[in-house]
Subunit: 136 residues, 2 copies
Amino acid sequence: MLPQRLNFVTLGARSVRTLRAFYRSWGWHENDGGSDDYASFTAGSVAIALYPIDRLREEAAPSSDLPPSGAWNGVTLAMNFAQRSDVDTAVDEAVSVGAQLVAPPMDREWGGYSGYVADPEGHRWELAWAPGFDPD
Amino acid sequence: MLPQRLNFVTLGARSVRTLRAFYRSWGWHENDGGSDDYASFTAGSVAIALYPIDRLREEAAPSSDLPPSGAWNGVTLAMNFAQRSDVDTAVDEAVSVGAQLVAPPMDREWGGYSGYVADPEGHRWELAWAPGFDPD
């Protein structure tokens, strides 16, 4: 039995500097203890961390190649909003500070409404409203 | 400004069935509302969700190829423990139910102690102890 717990999501970064600046541009407050090679941002019970991808590979995938630069990694992160209209606002805001628009907000099969943006290294964020789900 | 918030980490799954069984084997309790194509597990303020990778791609990376099967995706998830010795126990437990051992627990440059395992589709989990960090 392992605890049902997630403390960190670490994004291997080609450039910690670029990604740090990007997430700061979202208005995010960086945790103390960062360095040129490390940044973390607390989001609820989890911290989103940035760490050089070659050093992360040494730890997490020592016999593997680096994933291709800029390609989608098969994972999405989602930020939910209380109101459907908040999604439009959030996508506009994200794009205005340099996020790549991947998919404009649209109705989704599962009953919600969401759009996708990517950070400068292609990590996907779904900005979403789901009926009956209060993210706060 | 975007809220500093993470509600879902969705892992694109080649087989939702396999990954669901794997995380259940960790003793995790699945949220209601799952289906053959969807499972989610709440961990603190975040839910870890499983969704077919081809369908996730249609939403999140419509013009991209699927990432290569089984390759490291450049991301790690971490589960922290209160005691250093808990890491050894957790890695043993994870491996005993079918996790792939990627790196045995060892002292880390940053002052902690951790090992890495992978789920059946290669998603990395760092099982870690960090001095002074209480994960509960």
